[in-house]
């Protein structure tokens, strides 16, 4: 069992090479990519919206609670919420949630195709299934997930504003002043780096789990679960590594 992890890891790495092959037919790939972008982008927007607005709100309320009775300037609320959302919460939480939504969906879709011999049928037609089935998903994710993460950051900050200003925790100008203080554009770069890396991880791990599934419906369920668990673990690990590489 322990050694199997290495076998899978090796197979996973070698398989990456198969994904980036020249498409047989650009227009088919284009269509499939648009479909994936729509599914991933539009399909996941509601949940991303909901999560980020609440995370922003909760951050603001809890920060207000922690700040009470300290000497920290009150306008720091905007600053803290902004950086926390941009650097950490928007990319990481969004991608963890998307691993559950998008990743399990991809694994189940590919696994179903494998079990119903659709993948074999395409292979026999001469289609490079590793490329045709995965590359559009990967491109769709790499384009749409950073967009979603960016939206999540903005919505998160809006959520924080809504939770703190109209409710009277903070004044409007305190929040806005904080929001405009100490802005480091590099943090936004960091957010996008994270978004790209996490998008790649969750798509490729989920696709791997689905594409190579064996057995029946129980294995398919297990593969879909593994897709989520493994990509979550790898995302958190990557989060730490990126934080080390880009900040220290």
């Amino acid at each position: 069992m322990n050694l199997q992890i290495f076998t899978h890891f090796g197979k996973f790495i070698l398989w990456q090479k198969q994904i980036f092959k020249r498409p047989e037919n650009w227009s088919m790939y284009y269509k499939e990519t648009l479909r994936q972008m729509y599914d991933i982008g539009i399909g996941s927007f509601p949940i991303v919206f909901l999560i980020s607005i609440f995370i922003g709100a909760v951050t603001a309320v809890q920060f207000a609670y922690q700040m009470a009775g300290t000497l920290i300037p009150r306008y720091y609320i905007g600053y803290i919420v902004r950086d926390m959302t941009i650097i950490e919460l928007a990319p990481t939480i969004t991608c963890l949630v998307l691993a559950g939504k998008v990743g399990s969906n991809m694994a189940a879709e590919l696994g179903g195709m494998r079990q119903k011999e659709h993948i074999d049928a395409m292979e026999i037609m001469g289609v490079n299934t590793s490329t045709y089935l995965i590359l559009p998903k990967l491109i769709g994710s790499l384009v749409m997930i950073p967009v979603l993460v960016c939206a999540a950051a903005i919505i998160g900050i809006a959520g924080a504003y809504l939770a703190s200003v109209p409710t009277g925790f903070f004044m409007d100008d305190e929040f806005i002043t904080g929001l405009r203080s100490f802005f480091v554009p590099y943090n936004v770069v960091m957010m996008f780096v994270k978004a790209f890396v996490f998008a790649y991880i969750l798509t490729s791990v989920a696709s791997y789990q689905g594409y190579f599934v064996r057995g029946g419906s129980i294995e398919l369920g297990a593969a879909s679960t593994r897709a989520v668990v493994y990509s979550n673990i790898l995302i958190l690990l990557a989060d730490y590594v990126i934080a080390l590489l880009l900040t220290v």
């Binding site: 047989e24 037919n25 088919m28 119903k116 011999e117 659709h118 074999d120 049928a121 292979e123 026999i124 037609m125 001469g126 289609v127 490079n128 045709y132």
Partner: protein
């Protein structure tokens, strides 16, 4: 023409194929017959490269499939069509999209030409007009025929059918057999059919290979089946008591 030489395949400890050599001829319906579990599907999957044999080689005319690279394999497969035991129709696509899929992927025809070809193929399998139905909305026999239509849409040189008439009534089976046989003749295709249906053997068995216990137990044509004395063949062909009685009384 496809030639296999000394194919050996094992799964774990189970030796499924123990050295099969055979020549599948062009323009003929080549049959692989044998009991359930005798390795027909495994042999077919080796022929088309979905499984790798432990040893032995598969030759498509002068190209060796077993040593070919992934890209060469794809070139060979562009000339292949396959009907799966479970149809493998893409269930989120309509019948038309299913049949059009290989063309969408590999041909540069216009949408109109593609539609024309789809309708031709559907007509060829006597299913004109079901373009916009989904696979789940048509019967099993119709699904088989759609599978055939999809397999022949790019005019393959090699056609593989895994149990084309399992689960069908005798009349529909014969229709499908005749359909495959006439498509084979029309386009001089090398057709390879897996079956354990006796009607098919006697109807379209132009070049038969009987698998038994991993070995090639018998080969020949349908005309030789009744006169041949091979015990394994008789065991297989006249398995049903009804047929045995019939033969007794005929003698």
């Amino acid at each position: 023409m496809i030639r296999v030489e000394n194919i050996i395949k094992t799964f774990g400890k189970q030796e499924v194929l123990k050295g099969i050599s055979f020549l599948f001829e062009a323009g003929k319906t080549n049959l692989i017959i044998g009991k359930s579990g005798s390795g027909k599907t495994v042999l077919l999957k080796i022929l088309i490269g979905l499984l790798h044999p432990d040893s032995g080689s598969v030759w498509y005319e002068d190209k060796n499939l077993t040593t070919s690279t992934k890209d060469e394999l794809r070139q060979i497969r562009l000339q292949c069509g396959m009907l799966f035991q479970g149809n493998a129709l893409f269930d989120s696509m309509t019948i038309e999209e299913n049949i059009r899929f290989p063309m969408d992927m590999f041909s540069h025809k216009t949408a109109k030409e593609k539609l024309h070809r789809v309708n031709d193929c559907l007509e060829r399998v006597s299913l004109a007009g079901i373009n916009h139905k989904y696979p789940s909305e048509i019967s099993g026999g119709m699904q088989k025929r759609v599978g055939i239509a999809r397999a022949i849409v790019l005019n393959p040189k090699f056609l593989f059918c895994d149990e084309p008439n399992s689960g069908l009534d005798p009349k529909t089976s014969i229709t499908i057999d005749n359909l495959i046989s006439s498509i084979t003749k029309e386009n001089n295709i090398t057709t390879i059919i897996n079956t354990h249906d006796m009607n098919s053997v006697m109807e379209i068995g132009e070049n038969i290979c009987l698998l038994d216990n991993g070995h090639l137990a018998w080969k020949g044509q349908k005309e030789m089946v009744l006169s041949d004395q091979s015990e394994v063949l008789h065991d297989f062909i006249f398995a049903s008591p009804f047929l045995q009685k019939l033969v007794e009384s005929a003698k």
